[in-house]
Point group: C2
């Protein structure tokens, strides 16, 4: 306890002058660094808009009332709200660096995201977490972390790493770590499986949160999942399921992202009696969506358009996630809170005019002002070298009779269509390959797929949930092999091959899932690859590369491809 | 970090079986220990009453729905809510042991109190905190602690101990310590005084709460107080002041105790838009009030009678304090929460029928079932031996001209009435003495008081805020000296003396402020002493011993008695 006392003494000494300045500014004995004059700001405590000057000292709000500042910004007639928070996102889905992601979302008023570095952890293990930590240091966006709970997703997966609670334990001490990310293994939790329960207990031992992921879970099973210690859920597809989870004590993350969109179904849950238990999340945002849509501001607009009280919509988008994650000094315009503030025009159009992060103007209406984080050289080299697999030959991809999955428009569920004997263009039967790429095992899983629409050529991608092996679909072995090998050659990316040539590609050299290039470039190349895929026949009801990326995830019914071959998810056995 | 990993591993191993049982009960694979069947329970998340069986496993709620238990209690037609929480109380004000306090309030549905052991700390320093910790161990009432921030209250006080942030720092590691108690020194805080700011920074360094105490504070000063890090306030006398504090981010503790009653003024703040930032507190509960009134249940009833939505009133009384104090597993009927539950008849009369603490029935409608905590012998001996002062002689109390304070009915404010030359019965002028009793300094402060009403005899008490020296008022030096000496002889208590004899007394041997006897006995003796005091002429507009106990507290205007003599609070100098 002596040691603790000394630490307190040091902390107090280190923080005294700053706190005294804050108090002096609040008491008007000193001028504020910055004052937003005449702000109509959201008061999240009294659930109303109030009017006043907002005074900032050293990145913190000192006072609200009448203040003078060294810099004064008149925001008369404009609205101010706390910085917006995305309660659950996998940054890797943006396919760009976290810095590029920040550049895209800060202009939309997002100042904090809670991310689950689950994708990169499946490739690089704890080094993936470390990489994301370094790549998010010093951004104008606070990136907090939930530690991945399901690496690999299943015992059938050949991922780059396996993480139990011991492997991630030291990370709970990191100030940006808030808990354990989505417990997708809800079957294990509700069955009281020691592996899953231990993961939860470990996070609780550190007094941290545990996020849930339990689509449709209900009744006694849901009670069991919550009793185990899962405090939130972002997999609510119906109002009824969301209400049941909320009533049993879970916080509801209303998700509206690129792949899954639940706002329409869940907006009715946002009444004054219930809103404090809800927040917004995107889960996944693809490049096109980051460029053309918005982020959390978009969800606010949509919610208001669906009849949600603007006060509630903005509070849910800012204050509530801060309360859930115990981010003590975030989510309010009040003394002592971080000066994370969004200036916007009105709460129907919600156009973001200016963004302040810790009192610094980081979006001026035109540009996001930021510096690039620097990832340590060795770690960066490690992230750029994650492929351990030999090139495949056409012979290696040769096959006779194999199981066949189906593809349905607008769904990730893939039906079990029995078997096929080979390529069959008239019946729209193509071949799929999943090439293990982490451990040089030489494992290649093969199978057939019907309904993808491809009439010529092949597609391949190293974005392949959750293990991110190389997945490919093709209309002949030659193009299929070339597509796989081009991905291995690029050390990650997506490509389209036709007639023995690469006709479109996007390099994703960071762990095989993220680019080093600007968002606009990535988007352009990806959209071009998609257009080429459509031109080759890919059906319009699917996003070809997103659909491809979920074909190897054996937690979604009914038939999926593993590196050992086609897998019957319903029977939990190789098909 | 290796060490941290090992600790996690041990914790996980220790808790695994219990958690697995909880999950198995929730999933209906095992019978619950206890089920409250057909409960109409308050759902604090959806702000409504829901119906279901509540299943308990090892003191935790496992599930809500349809359940079977080893023991089943049918609560059809009755209501169930989470255990009630008093957000701020000084247990010492009950004048009985914490066990006796628990016996009194558990039958009223209180299962948790957050106490500030400020009174005993003024006598015994950190040993006082230690004493209260041990005296509250294993009660059917969880007693959490806020560490006293103002010991002594002022530099003018001669208290038993002086505590700065270093003196209390090790206590923040105690699992029942939640933060720093009411920062009564709001002047120091708003002036950025290093002593006060350091206290706040120390609590923040431990990620703990800081409670406020700032009657009437407003505007820039209030901003400064809140910016410093004071998160709550229980000194709101008007709706306007409460709303200003709430809007600036403070949690509002609506106080309704024995001395101060603020519910009437503050009930209008309890709307659905604001209720989540409010809770209930009593601050002080005297013996008579504990026996004849209720506790938090009484505040609920009063609030509902004043038009507050019953759902809001009960939520404020249970859930909200748990959220503020980060008592993660308290304040709700839901899986994973502690099975602290109150069964009551209806939400207008709010008669408590049964109380469960961690799943154990601790009030069966008749009796509170509990064991007595055992305070370590040496610590108990220390608590029973806190008087270090010689008897006073009549000569020591002799005086000529001295300053004189007034007494006003129903107020603690004492006017400055100039001076008096001696006893003056026709003008109702009596003499007061404050005898330093901690350090054997021999200091005796003397002065006159007009308006108390005493026509004969003397009163004395060792309850004398905040330093708890011996305070006495008398109509002649002989009785005054006897009254003081009787208190010293008893090592604490209150007494009434007349005609050279002790005519009523209550012994308070624990630190001079608490009894070892049952609540009923203490109440009887205290009420008898009050009756005798009234019979001797004490005016009916005051509670004689409570009034006496505040006459030495130099933070209340205008003239107060210190051990150095009468003190002018307005001028902050001896009178």
């Amino acid at each position: 306890m002596g040691y603790m006392g000394e630490r307190t003494e040091e902390k107090v000494a280190r923080k005294l002058a700053k706190k005294q300045k804050l108090v002096n500014v609040a008491a008007k004995r000193m001028k504020a660094d910055l004052v937003l004059k005449n702000a109509t700001y959201l008061n999240v405590f009294s659930s109303e808009f109030c009017v006043g000057d907002i005074a900032v000292s050293d990145g913190l709000i000192a006072g609200v009332g009448e203040y003078e500042g060294v810099r004064e910004v008149d925001v008369s007639g404009k609205f101010v709200c706390p910085g917006l928070i995305d309660a659950h996102i996998h940054l890797e889905s943006s396919m760009v660096s976290p810095a590029e992601f920040a550049r895209a979302v800060v202009r939309h008023g997002t100042t904090t995201v809670i991310c689950d570095p689950h994708e990169i952890a499946n490739v690089m293990g704890v080094d993936g977490i470390r990489y994301m930590m370094e790549a998010t240091e010093g951004l104008p966006l606070d990136v907090h972390f939930m530690l991945p709970s399901c690496v690999p997703a299943t015992d059938m997966d050949e991922s780059g790493a396996k993480l139990d609670f011991r492997a991630i334990d030291e990370w709970y001490a990191h100030p940006r770590v808030l808990g354990l990310a989505e417990m997708m293994n809800y079957v294990g939790v509700t069955r009281a499986d020691p592996f899953a329960i231990s993961q939860i207990l470990a996070s609780q031992a550190h007094h941290k949160k545990i996020d849930g992921h339990a689509p449709g879970l209900s009744g006694a099973e849901l009670n069991a999942y919550i009793a185990a210690g899962v405090y939130s859920d972002h997999e609510c597809y119906t109002f009824e399921n969301a209400l049941e989870k909320l009533r049993l004590g879970q916080f509801i993350m209303i998700r509206e992202g690129t792949a899954a969109k639940n706002l329409k179904a869940l907006a009715p849950i946002l009444t004054q009696a219930r809103e404090s238990r809800c927040m917004f999340a995107t889960d996944d945002k693809h490049p096109i969506d980051l460029l053309t849509g918005g982020h959390i501001d978009y969800i606010i607009k949509e919610a208001i358009a669906r009849g949600v009280d603007p006060v509630i919509a903005i509070k849910v988008a800012s204050h509530n996630a801060a309360r859930y994650f115990l981010l003590n000094n975030k989510g309010a315009i009040a003394p002592g809170y971080l000066a994370d503030m969004v200036v916007f025009d009105d709460f129907r159009s919600f156009n973001v005019l200016q963004v302040f992060k810790r009192g610094r103007e980081v979006f001026d209406g035109e540009n996001v002002i930021m510096e690039q984080p620097k990832v340590e050289e060795g770690l960066s080299a490690r992230a750029h070298d994650t492929f351990r697999a030999p090139f495949v030959t056409e012979e290696r991809l040769a096959a006779g009779t194999l199981p066949m999955m189906g593809v349905k428009a607008h769904e990730l569920i893939t039906p079990n269509l029995g078997t096929a004997d080979g390529y069959d263009a008239p019946r729209d039967v193509a071949k799929m390959a999943l090439v293990e790429r982490h451990h040089n095992t030489g494992h290649v899983g093969l199978g057939y797929v019907q309904g993808f629409g491809l009439k010529s050529g092949a597609l391949a991608s190293s974005i392949s949930h959750d293990s991110h092996n190389v997945i490919a679909i093709g209309t002949c072995d030659r193009d299929l092999a070339l597509a796989v090998n081009r991905i291995l050659e690029m050390k990650g990316g997506v490509c389209v091959v036709d007639g023995g040539k690469v006709v479109a590609e996007l390099s994703l050299p960071v762990a095989g899932i993220m680019s080093d290039e600007p968002l606009e470039t990535v988007n352009e190349k990806l959209e071009r690859a998609k257009a080429v895929a459509y031109a080759l026949g890919a059906q319009r009801g699917i996003d070809p590369f997103m659909t491809l990326s979920f074909m190897a995830l054996p937690v979604i019914p009914h038939l999926k491809l593993t590196t050992h071959g086609m897998f019957d998810v319903d029977r939990w056995a190789l098909a």
